[in-house]
C-alpha cells in the first residue's frame, strides 16, 4: 500500500505490544455479553415493554458501549496520544449536528403533509385493518 512509508519514518511508537491475549478475550466476552443485553428489552423481565423509546435508548447505550470497547481496545486508541481527540471528536460532532438538523424537516415531515400525500401514505390504521382482516376475513373460516 505504501510506496515510501518505510518503517523508520517517525513511527517506532507502536512496536511495543499492549493488550495481550487476556485483554482481548475479556473485551470479546464483554462484547458478546452486551449483544445479548440488547435482547434483554425483549424479555419478560424488561419493565418498559409498552414504551419502546426506553428500549431504544437502552439499546443505543449498549451499542455505544460496544463501539467504545472496539475503538479503545481493538483499534488501540486507548494507547494513543492526544491526536485521537482531534480526529474523532469533530467527526462525531459534525455527524450529530447533521442528524439533529435533519429532524425538523425530515424527521417531522408529516407536520406539513398535504392531503395528496397523506392519501397514499400508510398509517397505523392500515395495520389495524390488516390485523382485523386476518382474524375476521372469510379465509379465517377456510383454515
Amino acid at each position: 500500500m505504501s510506496d515510501h512509508a518505510a518503517p523508520h519514518d517517525s513511527a517506532g511508537h507502536e512496536e511495543h505490544s499492549h493488550g495481550g491475549l487476556g485483554k482481548y478475550i475479556a473485551v470479546f466476552a464483554a462484547l458478546c455479553f452486551l449483544t445479548t443485553m440488547s435482547f434483554f428489552t425483549y424479555s419478560e423481565a424488561w419493565p418498559w415493554r409498552d414504551q419502546p423509546q426506553v428500549g431504544w435508548a437502552f439499546m443505543m447505550a449498549v451499542s455505544c458501549t460496544k463501539a467504545m470497547l472496539v475503538v479503545l481496545f481493538f483499534m488501540h486508541v486507548w494507547w494513543e496520544a492526544n491526536w485521537k481527540y482531534v480526529l474523532t471528536i469533530p467527526a462525531a460532532m459534525m455527524a450529530l449536528f447533521l442528524v439533529i438538523m435533519l429532524i425538523p424537516d425530515i424527521g417531522m415531515r408529516n407536520r406539513m403533509v398535504s392531503q395528496e400525500r397523506a392519501l397514499h401514505m400508510a398509517r397505523p390504521a392500515d395495520l389495524l385493518l390488516l390485523e382485523e382482516a386476518g382474524t375476521a376475513g372469510p379465509a379465517a373460516e377456510a383454515h
Binding site: R109, M112, V113, S114, Q115, E116, R117, L119
Partner: protein, 266 residues
C-alpha cells in the same frame, strides 16, 4: 515611466468603487431597480435591503478606496530607496476589526428577525383564501366554493389567474403536484418554494389594486421559463363579483375532473 504604470493600475482599482457606486446610483433612474411594492410587509424588506446596501456600501467604499490608496502610495517606484515596513501585525487592530464587524453583524442578525417572522412564522389564524397547486408548467388555483370550504366538490378551479381582495390578509396554501416550483411575487416581496408532498402556508396583504406577475423561481424543467401567472388585486366587492362570475362559468361548463381534482377531493 515606472511610476506611471503604478498610477495607471492604482486608478484601475479606484475605478471599482467609483463605477460600482455609480452603477447603483444610476440604476433606479433607468428603472433597473426594485419593482413597485404593493404589499404591506414589503416595506420592511425593502428598508432592510436599503439598510444593508448602505452598510455594505460603506464597507465597500472604505475597503476599496483603502486598497487604491495603498496601491497608489506604496508603489515601489514611488518609494525610492525606502524599504517596506517590517511589521508582523498588530494585536489591537486584529481585535478592533474583529469586534466591530462582529457587533455590526450581530445587530443585523437580531434586527432582521422580526421581518422574517412576519413573513414566514406568524401565520394569521384564518382558513386558506385559496390553494395554489404548482405543476409543470402552470399554477392551478382552487378557491373554496359557495360553501366557503376548501376540499369540497363545489370548489372553483382556475389556472394561472389569481384574483385576491386588496387590503385584506390572504392566506395561500401552496402545494406542488410533481417537482419543486417556487411561488414568486416580485411586487409583493414573496417567494416560497412549492414542495411536492407538503402544504406550505403563504400570507400577505396587498395594498393597491392592480395586476402583477407570478413567476416560477425554482427550476422545474424545460418549461420553467414560461410558468407565468398573474396576480390581480381588486376591492372586496369586485372580488366577490368576480368569484360569482367564475362559479357561474364553471357550473355552465362542468369541467371534467382533472387529476388534481380527484385526488384532492378524496
Amino acid at each position: 515611466m515606472k511610476r506611471a504604470a503604478g498610477i495607471f493600475w492604482a486608478l484601475l482599482f479606484l475605478a471599482v468603487p467609483v463605477l460600482g457606486v455609480a452603477t447603483f446610483a444610476v440604476a433606479p433612474s433607468i428603472d433597473v431597480w426594485l419593482p413597485e411594492d404593493v404589499s404591506e410587509h414589503g416595506r420592511e424588506i425593502d428598508s432592510l435591503f436599503y439598510f444593508i446596501l448602505a452598510l455594505t456600501g460603506v464597507v465597500f467604499i472604505a475597503t476599496e478606496v483603502l486598497l487604491f490608496w495603498f496601491i497608489w502610495k506604496y508603489d515601489a517606484a514611488a518609494r525610492g530607496e525606502e524599504k517596506a515596513t517590517y511589521i508582523h501585525g498588530s494585536h489591537t487592530l486584529e481585535v478592533v476589526w474583529t469586534i466591530i464587524p462582529a457587533a455590526t453583524l450581530l445587530f443585523l442578525a437580531i434586527y432582521q428577525m422580526n421581518a422574517w417572522a412576519n413573513v414566514k412564522m406568524r401565520r394569521p389564524d384564518m382558513p386558506p383564501t385559496v390553494e395554489v397547486i404548482a405543476r409543470q408548467f402552470e399554477w392551478r388555483l382552487r378557491y373554496p366554493g359557495r360553501d366557503g370550504e376548501l376540499g369540497t366538490p363545489d370548489d372553483l378551479h382556475l389556472v394561472n389567474d389569481l384574483h385576491l381582495p386588496v387590503d385584506e390578509d390572504v392566506l395561500v396554501q401552496l402545494k406542488s403536484m410533481d417537482v419543486l416550483h417556487s411561488f414568486f411575487l416580485p411586487n409583493l416581496r414573496i417567494k416560497q418554494d412549492a414542495v411536492p408532498g407538503m402544504k406550505i402556508p403563504v400570507w400577505f396583504k396587498g395594498t393597491e389594486t392592480g395586476s402583477h406577475d407570478i413567476v416560477c423561481a425554482e427550476l422545474c424543467g424545460w418549461g420553467h421559463y414560461k410558468m407565468k401567472g398573474r396576480i390581480t388585486f381588486v376591492t372586496r366587492p369586485e372580488f366577490n363579483a368576480w368569484l360569482e362570475r367564475k362559479y357561474a362559468e364553471q357550473e355552465a361548463t362542468q369541467p371534467v375532473e382533472d387529476v388534481t381534482g380527484t385526488l384532492v377531493t378524496n
